[in-house]
């Protein structure tokens, strides 16, 4: 006799519960297409050395500013570098900066938010005022000022963006903590002698996860735009490392005679931001129907 026949009530509901969100996600076209784009870009970033036909900084003398052709599908830049390879390697910088800063922001913001939500009172009030002040700064401006003060480099950029997005995660986690702690099942857990740790991990975190996943995904799209903007201004990754924003900035001078220098990195940024936005939209509809209001 198999285990399922022995104890059918054990296996049945569990598998159903586990599959349901995935089925809903797969049926949501927005989430499915977005996930496809994001997965494709991640694969490109990870497999860049294998996929790129040439080195991203390799110079091809005599092939400066050549339009797209069989040998160079995206053309070459003013130094004779293969644009396709540069765009492929640029995915590493863009996605790396985005994932790095959002992970850093969430790993600081979420515990902070839960703590604030638990402690309430003065700590809560002070923290929220502080976040208000941080929000008052136009994000890009503060990022520019901070990166300029710390010195332009990729780690500084990741740190700065993480610092600026952290309050969002803290506020979401705080809100979910405040909303969950007065609920009966949390009282029940407390009455049963559950430790604080167990309450946080078993009761509060699962409630915070859906809005957090949505916020993280949508933030990834914003961070890619901010990273591209800062690199465009020369405040991100330094040359010769290829970044999409930096490529547009350099290509701008040759734009009228060599539009491919700007168009391909620009389309790459759009595709990445579009993918994360589409995925975030779909995730919001499936994971957090309470927040969903038809695409706002």
């Amino acid at each position: 006799m198999s285990k399922a026949e022995e104890e059918p009530w054990r296996l049945e509901p569990q598998t159903r519960r586990r599959r349901a969100p995935w089925r809903r996600l797969a049926r949501n076209w927005s989430a499915a297409v977005g996930a496809g784009i994001v997965a494709g870009l991640l694969a490109v970033a990870v497999l860049a050395p294998a996929l790129a036909p040439r080195g991203p900084t390799q110079l091809h003398a005599g092939f400066e500013i050549k339009p797209p052709a069989a040998a160079f599908p995206f053309g070459t830049d003013e130094l004779g570098r293969d644009m396709l390879s540069r765009v492929i390697f640029g995915a590493r910088i863009s996605l790396g900066a985005a994932l790095g800063s959002v992970l850093l922001a969430a790993s600081i913001g979420v515990p902070l938010g839960i703590t604030i939500g638990f402690l309430r009172g003065t700590v809560d009030l002070l923290a929220m005022r502080l976040f208000d002040i941080l929000f008052a700064f136009p994000a890009i401006l503060l990022a520019i000022a901070l990166v300029a003060a710390l010195g332009p480099s990729l780690p500084n950029l990741i740190f700065t963006i993480a610092l600026l997005t952290m309050p969002q995660f803290a506020i979401i986690a705080r809100g979910a903590t405040l909303a969950t702690t007065p609920l009966e099942y949390v009282h029940a857990a407390v009455a049963l002698g559950a430790s604080r740790r167990r309450i946080v991990f078993a009761h509060i975190l699962p409630n915070v996860m859906p809005p957090l996943i949505v916020a993280a995904t949508l933030n990834l799209s914003i961070v890619i735009l901010v990273e591209a903007g800062l690199s465009f201004l020369g405040l991100g990754t330094q040359p010769p490392t290829p970044s999409w924003g930096g490529m547009i900035s350099r290509g701008r001078q040759y734009m009228t005679i060599a539009p491919w220098l700007v168009v391909f990195p620009g389309l790459a940024i759009m595709l990445a931001v579009f993918g994360f936005n589409l995925l975030g939209d779909g995730l919001r509809e499936t994971l957090d129907p309470r927040l969903y209001r038809g695409g706002g």
């Binding site: 076209w29 502080l130 401006l141 520019i144 000022a145 003060a149 591209a228 465009f232 924003g245 759009m270």
Partner: protein, 316 residues
């Protein structure tokens, strides 16, 4: 209303203090010896130069004293002098601000004029079936970086509409028509994404309102679809859109920093970026303080407007 305004103004005080501390600290988070960073390696070896900058910035005094001196200056609209050319920082900001203000106002006007009507149209019955198209197109607009759109507009403009100027700036008070025309491509580049964001907010808000009881009542009494949408739904649906527009308006000032660089507009953004590359920290500090103050005041104005439109809403 008066009590609400007073309360909001009182709440502004701790925010302003926080902002001033953060702006002040920008100079002091620079890693390394501040005097060397400010002067550059060669100049910093000269003891006279070192003394001059230490006295000018009061670097030999405790941090708190430095801050209080700086704040005292700020309250007299004195933001210090540029470290590079010695000009008044406040003067430079006041010269650059009208350009940035014109750019952001024009961008917002374009975004609202496109986004809100299209958002309303997208919920009309005939357009309901093209939901995926609306979503994909609006997301594509949101996904395009303004500096990329701007660069493309400059090239396309030069090729197909050579009569339309794309670079540089004409002061509005000197030649209003020319000034608006000059600023048009930059405003389009900056406003494109915002128009899509406002479209999505309007759409979401309209969909919610169209499901409300009073809309059903209006339909039941036989009002035409047009009347229901324009009279009953739109007025209520626009309330959250105002809040969204306010947030976007503040964000526009950040976006302007990059767009001014693309279109060679002599606004505050360009002032800040140039100051960054010249390590002109007093200008950076002053401009950050000014723009943040500007953002706080816009936020306040939007909240008050919001309260005026719908007195049920009170933000504390």
């Amino acid at each position: 209303m008066r009590a609400y305004v007073a309360k909001r103004l009182a709440l502004l005080i701790p925010t302003l203090i926080g902002i001033s501390i953060l702006s002040f600290m920008i100079i002091h988070v620079i890693p390394g010896d501040l005097v060397t960073v400010l002067l550059g390696i060669t100049a910093s070896q000269n003891e006279q130069n070192r003394q001059a900058i230490i006295t000018a910035l009061h670097l030999d005094q405790p941090l708190l004293v430095q801050y209080l001196r700086w704040i005292a200056g700020v309250l007299r609209a004195d933001l210090g002098r540029s470290l590079v050319h010695g000009g008044s920082v406040a003067g430079e900001i006041l010269r650059a601000f009208p350009v940035t203000a014109q750019l952001t106002i024009m961008s917002m006007a374009i975004a609202a004029a496109l986004g809100i009507p299209l958002g309303v149209l997208s919920v009309m019955r005939a357009a309901r079936s093209i939901e995926p198209v609306v979503r994909v197109v609006s997301l594509l607009f949101i996904s395009a970086p303004a500096f990329f759109v701007g660069t493309v507009l400059i090239v396309l403009g030069a090729r197909y509409v050579p009569a339309l100027p794309t670079l540089g700036h004409v002061p509005f008070l000197e030649a209003p028509g020319q000034s608006l025309l000059h600023m048009l491509p930059a405003s389009l580049a900056l406003g494109a994404a915002i128009s899509a964001i406002l479209l999505r907010y309007t759409r979401a808000s309209m969909l919610e309102v169209l499901g409300a009881d009073y809309v059903r009542t209006a339909r039941a009494k036989g009002a035409s679809e047009r009347h229901v949408v324009s009279r009953h739904a739109l007025a209520n649906a626009l309330i959250p859109v105002i809040a969204a527009a306010g947030i976007q308006f503040v964000a526009l000032f950040g976006g302007a920093v990059i767009i001014e660089e693309v279109f060679a507009l002599p606004g505050i953004g360009r002032l800040v970026v140039n100051a960054i590359f010249q390590r002109d920290y007093t200008v950076i500090q002053g401009a950050v303080l000014f723009l943040t103050l500007n953002a706080v005041l816009i936020n306040l104005a939007v909240d008050l407007l919001y309260h005026l439109v719908d007195p049920r809403i009170v933000y504390v």
